[in-house]
């Protein structure tokens, strides 16, 4: 077994920054009670103007006025951890959030699928950077050692026990994952790294230190296994982004929307499912949410496509009030069947497959705008067609190429009847009784039409189609 530890040193900051378009302006996260707000984390730009974690807000404001603040929210952090675990679940089936702000995943079993570790690592880093999280990755034969090595290393790979022992021996005692009291006691006893500690007799250590210390030592060396509870992906996707200000235009909603759909796509890829129906809730103050329903004809999970379809539908919506928060909920997550493609595509320039094109047209023109055409077994012309696709019907007698939606009276004087009458009489059983004599007529200008006269009426011929 080989364990990778992905440590997120600035999870809270990255989680806030990914919702902000201006990631390079100074930002500080605040924690603590309202009377004494303390800077919990700062980004590099804020560090450059002199802000430090642990400063009180008043001290920080005395230094500078032009930095933005946001709340340090533990619930958010938990949420990001779940998202990252879902993302990592796409690579490995054994993913654990045992340590805070850190992912443990078993990688040895997935090397045969994702290639040798350097390639796998590059791909992991690429995905995490795309999600907007800074990270450190280390690999070790046991999870506890991987976690400890991530404290000081980035990109270190250790595959055997001897190399692990060498790497751990040099680590200072503060970074070995002991409690603060134990670490202080070790350093006061002059045991400043792991090699010195392990040189001591085990029974004397057990007499002087609580049991957790020995347990941690054994875990680091892989003698005692670490019991991990593995991540299991949730069955529904639901994510909410609170906006920093009242948003009144669609344009300002596009940035959070892009994040939401990208997260949805990452989640779907991890679950190996697609989404067919999801709802975008736009939350207002003291009003019911505006909802943007997105329904697809087949399951999809491509991030850019989901974004584009949602945007098209969002742009049609009139915002009744300013938007305070955006929430995306997807409950219908069917299996994703990738589209089959020809190995040698006849149209190499085909940039957009028909399924995506159809979704794009439906998103802008309405769900009913794109349909097929088929013939129905009914003599009445109005009912002889349908928009559903069905099996082809046997060819019936002469019919015009165009059928008018509403028959129109023909007022032209010099009509020439070419054929007819053809009696169509049907529908007495469903209340839509039709008794008509149809003629093929030709107008003076050479148009050929299909017109009828109701049985027993003396009115003008009613035009019902064109032989176009």
């Amino acid at each position: 077994m080989l364990w990778a530890c992905i440590l997120f040193p600035q999870l809270a900051m990255d989680g806030v920054l990914r919702h902000r378009a201006d990631a390079d302006s100074p930002l500080a996260l605040l924690a603590g009670p309202a009377q004494r707000r303390v800077l919990q984390a700062v980004n590099p730009a804020a560090r450059a103007i002199g802000l430090r974690p642990g400063q009180s807000l008043i001290a920080a404001q005395a230094l500078s006025q032009d930095f933005a603040t946001a709340d340090y929210n533990p619930v958010e952090i938990e949420h990001w951890q779940q998202l990252l675990a879902a993302c990592a679940y796409g690579f490995s089936s054994q993913v654990s959030l045992h340590y805070p702000r850190c992912l443990l995943m078993e990688v040895h079993s997935c090397l045969s699928l994702f290639g040798p570790w350097p390639r796998f690592e590059a791909r992991l880093r690429e995905e995490l950077s795309a999600l907007g999280f800074r990270h450190r990755i280390t690999v070790a034969p046991n999870p506890a050692a991987a976690r400890i090595l991530a404290n000081v290393h980035n990109g270190l790979v250790i595959t055997d026990a001897d190399a692990l022992r060498q790497a751990l021996d040099r680590l200072p005692v503060q970074h070995l994952g002991f409690s603060r009291e134990a670490a202080t006691a070790f350093s006061r006893m002059g045991l400043r790294n792991l090699a010195r500690i392990l040189a001591q007799p085990r029974d004397s250590l057990s007499r002087r230190f609580p049991a957790e210390v020995l347990v941690q030592l054994d875990r680091l060396l892989g003698i005692r296994p670490l019991a991990l509870d593995f991540h299991r992906p949730p069955d529904v996707f639901e994510q909410r982004i609170e906006l920093n200000f009242d948003v009144k235009s669609h344009q300002a909603l596009l940035f959070p929307l892009r994040r939401l759909t990208a997260d949805l796509a990452a989640y779907l890829a991890g679950r190996d499912s697609g989404v067919q129906r999801f709802v975008l809730h736009l939350e207002h103050r003291a009003m019911a949410d505006s909802q943007v329903q997105v329904g697809l004809l087949r399951a999809e999970r491509d991030a850019s496509m989901l974004f584009e379809l949602t945007r098209d539908r969002l742009e049609q919506l009139q915002l009744p009030a300013p938007v305070l928060a955006v929430r995306l909920a997807a409950r219908d997550l069917p299996r994703f069947a990738p589209e089959r493609r020809q190995l040698f595509d006849e149209r190499p320039q085909q940039s957009l497959p028909w399924e995506q094109l159809r979704e794009r047209l439906r998103a802008r023109l309405g769900d009913e705008a794109v349909h097929g055409l088929s013939a129905c077994a009914d003599h009445r012309p109005e009912r002889a067609w349908s928009t559903q696709s069905s099996i082809p019907q046997p060819i019936s007698p002469l019919r015009p190429g165009w059928l008018l939606a509403q028959p129109q009276p023909l007022r032209e004087a010099s009509l020439h009847i070419l054929a007819g009458p053809e009696r169509i009489e049907s529908g007495w059983w469903d209340g839509d009784d039709v008794r008509r004599d149809y003629y093929v007529i030709q107008t003076r200008s050479g148009q050929r039409g299909w017109a009828f006269r109701e049985l027993g009426s003396q009115g003008p011929l009613m035009l019902h189609g064109w032989f176009a």
Binding site: Q350, S351, L365, G372, L373
Partner: protein
Amino acid sequence: MIRLDRTQSRTGYCSSIQLNKNLPMSAVVALDRLLDSRHVWRGQAISSPSSTQSTGHTELDSALPGGGWPGSALSEILVATSGIGELRLLWPTLARLTSAGERVVLVGTPHIPCPQAWLAAGVDLRQLMIVRATGRDALWATEQCLRSGSCGAVVCWPMQADDRALRRLQVAAETGKTLAFAYRPLDEAVNASPAALRLTLDARELRILKCRGGLAPARPIATPALVAGGGH
């Protein structure tokens, strides 16, 4: 003597000889040298469009420069009114494409296509898609369909299409390598258009107004003879 073929170019100009003023008129000028010094502009040989698709009407095929609809380009069909064989003109092409498994999209049809007649014309309705749209949406949908390259042919009925809109369609058809047809009213014949092929159709005759890659034949084709194959 200098003999040059009065080849006619696609823009319709005749070749002309512009002799150098310094030369006496009686001087014998070698043709090669004239051509090399670029004093002679030579009409280019008819360049047939890269790919054409048969219209299914032999008489029309022989009149068109490449022997059919210009492939991956916009063809404009200007019709006087409904019911004069405008669909019969296109049905053989659509029937051939749909039976070959290509998708055909109709955007913004003016009336309901009657499935029985389309089936009788040989169009495979499973490959036929209809997009309901009007005005600018119809133009947008047509352009999307053309650009995607996932359709064999796109037929549209734009209501108010200006020069710019048609140019967009023409470019989209080139990008997606798709056949594009636009039905427009006959009044638009006086306006210039970027379409590769322009036809006018009325109850009596079909005229070719413009065809890329050749001179438009002056002689009209009688409509009844052309569309008689439809059987209606």
